[in-house]
């Protein structure tokens, strides 16, 4: 599997991590994997909620030193 494309949304407020991920997903191809980096603790919940609602695949959701790494695969 190729390396995921990283969207570094650490320490930003507007448009924020989820909006950055949505923008990144629009440019990605089906099958691509993206890794979102966020320092917003809300991302741990609201990003997976969106991924599930739209029907993409959540591959990982972990916190390291105050940074959430959320990995998602575009499936449609």
């Amino acid at each position: 599997m190729s390396e995921p494309r990283v969207i570094d949304a650490r320490n930003t407020f507007c448009p924020g991590p989820l909006m950055e991920l949505i923008a990144g997903m629009k440019l990605a191809q089906v099958g691509d994997t993206l890794e979102l980096l966020s320092t917003d603790k809300g991302s741990a919940n609201d990003v997976p909620e969106w991924i599930h609602k739209v029907g993409h695949e959540l591959l990982g959701n972990r916190e390291e030193g105050g940074v959430w790494h959320i990995t998602v695969k575009k499936v449609k």
Binding site: N11, P15, L18, E49, K53, V54
Partner: protein
């Protein structure tokens, strides 16, 4: 030193004038040459389109001649770049000229792409071009009631626009005396009514108070003009009589065609504002891929940091400061009240209760912008 600015919008113009004011002697002596290339001889105050769509501004108020905004000493050409030859420190323009540079700043901006959502361009009213805004104004005038849906694409220019149009439409319909026949329904792509948490905390109760309904986690998938519904990626539908859209944006085609960045957004260092991997190429405004608001205010503060840095490169041999992510956005909360959000990379905004004073400050800024573009404010 040859300094080249590509793009004559808000960011490019403020940067050019800032540099001209910092380097008057160097420009006079010929030690520095400052050149701007733009696609247009006109400069538009884009935030004014919101007012145009509501009949509160006319098109002529939004334009100035670009050449007239620039300080003496800046060489200005209406000749857009078609090729970026970064390894040669050159660009090639539409007219075929090859222009060398020692330092280049790219500020080509962004463009609305409603065509990326099937049915959107044909069925929605928008206010991101003069033509769209005039069309929206005429449509609003003939609208006599029904369900108004506001739908938001990602990413979009001016993060306050969705809220502003919702609140300003409320007052517009109220003033026309048809508010009782209108239902405003606001949708938003993420799980709250605005990307900024503190702004969302203020705006959601305000919508409740005014009877504006809202649905979050709503990303447009398609618009069915016959059935008059917007369908979302998340599986819901929003029926409408009048659809107002803040369309998704992309960077300019020339950026993508030259392979400078996916989606037309150039990978940019968020503090130094240099293009990743290039020390003498800087990027500002909507053109960057920095995860920050695509707004004139962002371009303005980036231009000030870059102006100081590029002038320091001339005088001291190195940049002197970082861009701290500063953004200041007015938020119109109706026809005569406004608040604002000021934030940077580390400090979130704390918007206050809207006041008439802030609204009138915004109205004043709409005129003062031309002073700002000249690098004076």
């Amino acid at each position: 030193m040859k300094i080249l600015i590509v793009g004559g919008g808000m960011g490019g113009t403020i940067l050019a004038n800032n540099l001209a004011r910092r380097l008057p002697n160097e420009l006079k002596s010929g030690k520095v040459q400052l050149t701007m290339l733009s696609a247009s001889d006109k400069h538009m105050y884009q935030p004014g389109l919101l007012y145009l769509a509501l009949g509160r501004a006319t098109p002529d108020e939004l334009y100035r001649d670009q050449a007239g905004l620039l300080e003496p000493g800046i060489k200005f050409f209406v000749d857009p770049v078609e090729q970026f030859l970064l390894d040669k420190n050159q660009v090639k323009t539409k007219s075929g000229k090859v222009i060398d540079y020692d330092v280049m700043a790219i500020a080509t901006g962004s463009r609305p792409v409603p065509e990326t959502i099937p049915g959107l361009a044909e069925n929605a009213e928008m206010f991101y071009t003069e033509e769209q805004a005039i069309k929206m104004f005429r449509r609003l005038q003939s609208f006599e009631g029904g369900k108004v849906v506001i739908a938001v694409g990602v990413p979009h220019k001016c993060p306050m626009a969705p809220l502003e149009i919702a609140f300003m439409l409320y007052d517009y319909f109220k003033d026309r005396g048809i508010l009782d026949k209108v239902k405003i329904h606001y949708t938003y792509p993420i799980g709250r009514v605005h990307s900024l948490e503190n702004v969302a905390k203020w705006a959601a109760p305000e919508m409740d108070r005014l009877g504006i309904t809202y649905e979050t986690l709503f990303n447009m998938k398609e618009v069915d003009g016959k059935a008059k519904v917007v369908r979302s990626e998340e599986g819901s539908t929003a029926p409408f009589d009048l659809l107002i859209s803040i369309p998704a944006h992309r960077g300019m085609e020339v950026i993508e065609k030259n392979g400078l960045g996916q989606g037309g957004w150039i990978p940019t260092n968020r503090q130094k504002l240099n293009m990743e991997g290039r020390k003498n190429v800087f990027v500002l405004g909507d053109t960057t891929n920095i995860p920050i608001s695509k707004a004139g205010s962002t371009a303005h503060f980036e231009a000030e940091a870059l102006g100081e840095n590029i002038a320091a490169m001339v005088k001291l041999g190195a940049p002197v400061r970082d861009y701290d992510g500063k953004v200041f956005c007015f938020i119109e909360a109706g026809k005569d009240r406004a608040t604002y959000a000021m934030f940077d990379y580390l400090n979130p905004p704390d918007p206050k209760e809207p006041t008439k004073a802030v609204h009138w400050f915004k109205m004043a800024y709409n005129k003062l912008y031309w002073v700002s573009a000249r690098g004076l404010l």
